[in-house]
Symmetry: C2
Subunit: 362 residues, 2 copies
């Protein structure tokens, strides 16, 4: 089979028009506290917010289907798709389109962010089937990629540029021995791209090993928003400075220099004892403990048709974060949704969403 | 909520153009012998045949999804929908449309053909959710009906007439105490119909209690095909004669007398010891035994766009059955598929299929 690039398909930017958004219903009790009920309420709030702007499909196991159907607004489509956890960004298909507006999808192999070595749980077989199931529902052809990549490990500008971190894309626990040129080839072939911008580390304490979607994102061609830390005592101080240095030295696929915008990192937040106590301990699970630092970031937002759906954390920087987003996206509503319950599971709003770009027959 | 009739929706005849066909993948080992593998091959043959004429969607549990995806042609859409068994006709939605071509669906409550009294298995909760899940995938509104009815218990001519049997529609193990006028009201309201033609008993040994779709069907407005038995020693002899008498006395919604056509019943067939031995015995299952008679009928066929997909049984009457169908459907290909493995599970091709009528935006 050809690659998407050979067939003329590419991944559009997240700000391009969508036909909808896909999410997965959280339920595993060794990641989500109190039987996942608080997380389900948080996911439902995100789905409800996005559904005001574009169609939302929630993928739910047979066990939780009725519960989800009841907790979600009628306009949200609820389909039965099983999974090992609830990260539609990472396990869902990365949709691609061609100039004629046809829809296809890339199915990245998935190993729970590090396989048997560093993966967050075992097994991950149902997660790895989610992309194929999404594409079956949409009757869209599927490209199975040759290397392990999560959707949260890539950002694109829709004009040929891919933004990634070395921490994830060159990780030995994903694709042992892979070289930078080999990975660039995969990214270009499967995202229909021409140029890769490499950052180094991701946000400290990020369980994915450092997904770019928790650190930085394109807000338009030639412009990147970076989670920024001004406290030299915080490990993210150095990470954000290194990222800025690299971004300022980089160019995009069109040869443009990149404009770098900052959004504050929220103050350090930690797993509370009460929160950790509500999570099942298991042999192959996350086994979270009180006092662990949470990898909070405002960059982890979703761009919907006409809106930005971003996390807030009940801290002082929420106001500034919303102001930054409003300035960067003047034509979109800025909707802040409480993100702590999602953060407790290891990610945020961008991690739990996956856009479906607008296609011809839609 | 209104009824479909109040909203201007009705169930089209099966011969009206389809957008596709829905099926469910068989897997329960207390109904399908040898781990359901022979039944899966038979269902795959039916799906492959129909897929030559219209899109087919196969609903499959998470457990069997990959197996089904591998055994089915690429053009068959495979979606994850769990169920208790594999009867898309009975547990699937009965799709309805309006004059503008909008699509909706009726979700009949389901109790496994007789509930705790005479039902074929327990529980049936996942079966009862299949219709809602189909409608979610299609983004089509759902009407939950007020009475227990299976899709195989009704046939419509698309012009206001419903064909049913008293054996099922007035059964105390479905809707205790329901009267004929009450049931006629439900049928008219939910199928957008104006007149009900009542037959009495169904085919003997039919485990459903006597579904009309194993006994007789409309082949066009004003014309009914009846499974016919000429052997006075066979219990179906009297059933088929009683049905003919009733049909000849009946009229349709447009006041037409009904023309009655015959198709031979195949010779008596029975569960073989080897076949029964391959089926799990369980506390709440079917517990089939060697020597049980099978309710074989050629009437149990599916009308696809441009084709009739009908069962054959490897017996002498197969030739005559195909001739009858060819004469009645001169504009359609007649595709005969080995039906014994489906019959062993308690039904045939019509029972395992559910048409989706052509809608406006398709």
């Amino acid at each position: 089979m050809n690659t998407p690039r050979e067939d003329g398909f590419y991944m559009p930017a997240e700000w391009a028009p969508h036909d909808g958004c896909w999410m997965i219903w959280p339920e595993r009790t060794d990641n989500w506290r109190l039987g996942a009920k608080p997380a389900q309420a948080a996911f439902a709030a995100v789905a409800s917010a996005i559904a005001q702007f574009e169609p939302v499909t929630m993928m739910v196991s047979a066990r939780q289907w009725h519960a989800a159907r009841t907790m979600l607004p009628a306009r949200v489509r609820v389909v039965e798709v099983s999974s090992n956890d609830a990260w539609a960004r990472d396990v869902g298909t990365s949709f691609v389109v061609n100039q004629a507006g046809e829809l296809r999808g890339v199915d990245w192999p998935f190993n729970a962010w590090g396989g048997l070595q560093n993966g967050l749980y075992f097994p991950w077989d149902m997660d790895d089937a989610v992309a194929a199931k999404m594409l079956q529902i949409e009757r869209a052809p599927r490209y199975r990629a040759p290397k392990i990549i999560e959707g949260g490990a890539i950002h694109v500008d829709g004009e040929g540029t891919v933004l990634v971190t070395e921490a994830c894309l060159l990780a030995a626990d994903r694709n042992p021995g892979i070289t930078r040129p080999e990975m660039e080839r995969v990214l270009k072939d499967y995202l229909g791209a021409a140029h890769v911008v490499w950052l180094g580390a991701g946000v400290p304490h990020d369980e994915t090993g450092g997904h770019v979607d928790n650190l930085a994102c394109f807000v338009r061609p030639g412009e990147v928003l970076l989670s920024w830390c001004d406290d030299p005592a915080d490990p993210h101080y150095h990470v954000s400075r290194e990222a800025e240095t690299r971004l300022q030295a980089a160019h995009d696929a069109n040869g443009r220099k990149l404009k770098v915008q900052h959004i504050p990192m929220p103050k350090a937040m930690f797993f509370q004892a009460e929160e950790a106590a509500g999570i099942d301990q298991t042999a192959y699970g996350m086994n979270r403990r009180a006092g662990e630092r949470l990898a909070a970031s405002y960059v982890n937002f979703y761009i919907a048709n006409g809106a930005i759906i971003a996390p807030e954390f009940g801290v002082e920087t929420d106001v500034e974060a919303k102001r930054v987003l409003a300035a960067l996206f003047p034509d979109r509503a800025i909707i802040m949704i409480p993100g702590r319950e999602i953060l407790l599971g290891g990610g945020n709003i961008h991690c739990i969403t996956q856009q479906q770009p607008k296609a011809l027959n839609s």
